[in-house]
């Protein structure tokens, strides 16, 4: 019995908790991609860099507050700085929309043009971020590191395996739940949110109902900016902030959005967890888990790892290909909010 529990704790510690954390970060990222897709109707390749930009500003404000001696221990100062990071990101996307995207909307450019333009914004924002904060690693987490330490868990339960929950993991999951609930409430219960769904469902009829497209687009960008800054900051807190990793995040985020069915917010969230859990599950070494479950003489000699962690990024890619081949519309098909 204890062995089974040990195996479960081992899985929870190395697979489920990190998976839910990473999944929450991807889900928030994918939600942003999906919102842009359903309202502005293009795939925004600049999303990873918008996340990076938001995180950078959150870090700047964190440093500023730390300089002032401001602290909200045991929580990281970054949470205090996050609203300002969000505001900076909102300013960025507003400027970007006015200077770049509005022109293409007015000229009714094709989706491919939008996509290429978004790649352009990706390089520009990426450049700004590297220029402003530098390409190096930034660790900006302060506060108490653990909600529960492995050692405490062992003492508490008497098991030989420990379950550690980092503060950043707790914060990520709780924030994701709050944000997702807010987005759901906004889209389904508020006038503005409903007009956004209407616009995404049938642009022409939205116009005939007197819904102002300029306003819908602006609100969508503001939401996306907030989502991106939150997702980026949570990821940076949990791992560390390094500009180039945010560009790499684009692949799992798009995989998550597409797995769930692009344009569907619920799908984006589910997709985030599917991608994150599979990424960790196929690169996890099951040797010790199986060791607990089988008799000693059958204990595996290999690591029982499907893929080396070096291939982590390939997992999203494989999932993406499988979904596109088998069910291109995603798990929760539908093109609307």
């Amino acid at each position: 019995m204890a062995d089974v529990l040990n195996a479960l704790v081992l899985l929870a510690n190395f697979l489920i908790v990190p998976g839910l954390t990473y999944g929450s970060q991807l889900a928030l990222g994918a939600l942003g991609v999906t919102l842009i897709y359903s309202v502005l109707r293009f795939s925004n390749f600049g999303h990873g860099e918008i996340m990076s930009f938001g995180t950078m500003f959150t870090i700047f404000f964190t440093w500023l507050f730390q300089g002032w001696g401001l602290s909200i221990k045991p929580l990281p100062t970054a949470l205090l700085a996050l609203p300002f990071g969000i505001l900076a990101t909102m300013a960025l996307v507003m400027i970007m929309d006015k200077t770049v995207y509005r022109y293409h909307r007015e000229n009714k450019s094709s989706n491919v043009i939008f996509l290429i333009v978004s790649i352009g914004t990706m390089f520009v924002i990426g450049g700004i971020v590297r220029f402003a904060i530098g390409p190096a690693d930034q660790i900006f987490f302060d506060g108490t590191r653990f909600i529960m330490k492995a050692r405490e868990f062992k003492q508490m339960t008497g098991l030989s395996e420990g379950l550690a929950i980092k503060t950043t993991q707790g914060i990520t999951i709780v924030t994701a739940v709050i944000v997702v609930a807010f987005i759901w409430w906004f889209l389904n219960k508020t006038r503005t949110g409903k007009s956004m769904r209407a616009y995404s469902d049938n642009e022409n009829l939205a116009l005939l109902s007197g819904i102002d497209p300029a306003r819908v687009v602006m609100v969508a960008w503001l939401l996306v900016a907030a989502l991106a800054a939150i997702a980026g900051t949570l990821y940076g807190l949990d791992k560390s902030f390094k500009p180039f990793t945010y560009m790499q995040l684009l692949l799992p985020i798009f995989a998550a959005a597409i797995v769930g069915g692009v344009g569907n917010p619920l799908g984006a969230i589910a997709g985030g967890y599917v991608v994150a859990l599979s990424e960790i599950a196929v690169t996890f070494a099951y040797k010790r888990v199986v060791g607990y479950l089988v008799a000693e003489e059958h204990a595996p000699e290999t690591l029982l790892q499907l893929l080396s962690t070096d291939y982590k990024i390939a997992v999203s890619f494989i999932i993406l290909v499988i979904v596109l081949v088998i069910k291109p519309t995603g798990l929760f098909s539908g093109k609307t909010l």
Binding site: K194, A198, I211, T336, L337
Partner: protein, 234 residues
């Protein structure tokens, strides 16, 4: 001059003109019906009246005001409502949300208008929490008309409201449309069921190749042997 009139409209979607000096109009409390073969430009004439395509010549007058250069959204604010021929409901949204979106421009309480729409189309009340995309064709048309009524328009443009609807529901829809007109709303509609439509029409237009072929009262058109032979199947 009529309450709403598109006068001598000439224009199309691109280089080629679809409408040629076409005039359609309707008065308060009246029903005007546009009939004609497929591709005659009936929908195009409606869209032109609603500002959804650029006119090369002609003008649109509404309540004595020249609205030729107003955008569709601005015409909605003036009191015009439009139910397009296709894609006329928000399929992913519930019936109630469709009606709410119809009333988007209104800031006052819409509950009583919604009750009126439910009185007019009781089935919508029953299905109010169901996505409009899951309704039958006839129910969907009722949602579409209901959505347009939510702004409390002074004039309603209906493009084939009875398309794909069974004869019984069609009669019922026509009754509802008459009821709406009795409330003083001007109704301009395109109909494929020419006979039934002209029967309830105060005014009828027969369009052919983007131009007015016949214009008269509904009764006179029904009596006109030429119209009967060519457009009403004898």
């Amino acid at each position: 001059m009529s309450f709403l009139v598109g006068e001598n409209m000439t224009g199309g979607y691109g280089s080629a003109d679809i409408l040629h000096d076409c005039t359609i109009g309707v008065d308060k409390g009246q029903i005007a019906v546009i009939v004609g073969p497929n591709g005659a430009g009936k929908s195009t004439a409606m869209k032109a009246t609603f500002g959804m395509l650029d006119l090369r010549l002609g003008r649109v007058m509404f309540d004595g005001e020249d609205i030729t250069h107003l955008k569709p959204e601005e015409r909605v604010l003036k009191g015009m409502g439009f139910v397009p021929q296709t894609h006329n409901v928000f399929t992913s949204m519930t019936v109630e949300e469709n009606l709410e979106m119809g009333a988007f421009i209104r800031r006052d309480d819409i509950a009583s208008t919604m009750e009126q729409v439910f009185d007019l189309f009781p089935i919508l009340k029953e299905k109010r929490y169901q996505p409009a995309g899951e309704l039958s064709g006839g129910q969907r048309q009722q949602v579409a008309v209901g959505r347009a009524l939510m702004t409390q328009p002074k004039v309603l443009l209906l493009d084939e409201p009875t398309a794909g609807v069974s004869p019984i529901v069609m009669d019922e829809l026509f009754d509802r449309i008459i009821e709406i007109a009795r409330q003083g709303i001007a109704i301009l509609m395109v109909e494929q069921n020419a006979k039934q439509a002209l029967n309830i029409a105060d005014k009828g237009y027969v369009l052919v190749q983007g131009a007015n072929r016949f214009t008269d009262t509904g009764e006179a058109l029904m009596a006109n042997p030429e119209v009967r032979k060519a457009f009403l199947g004898g």
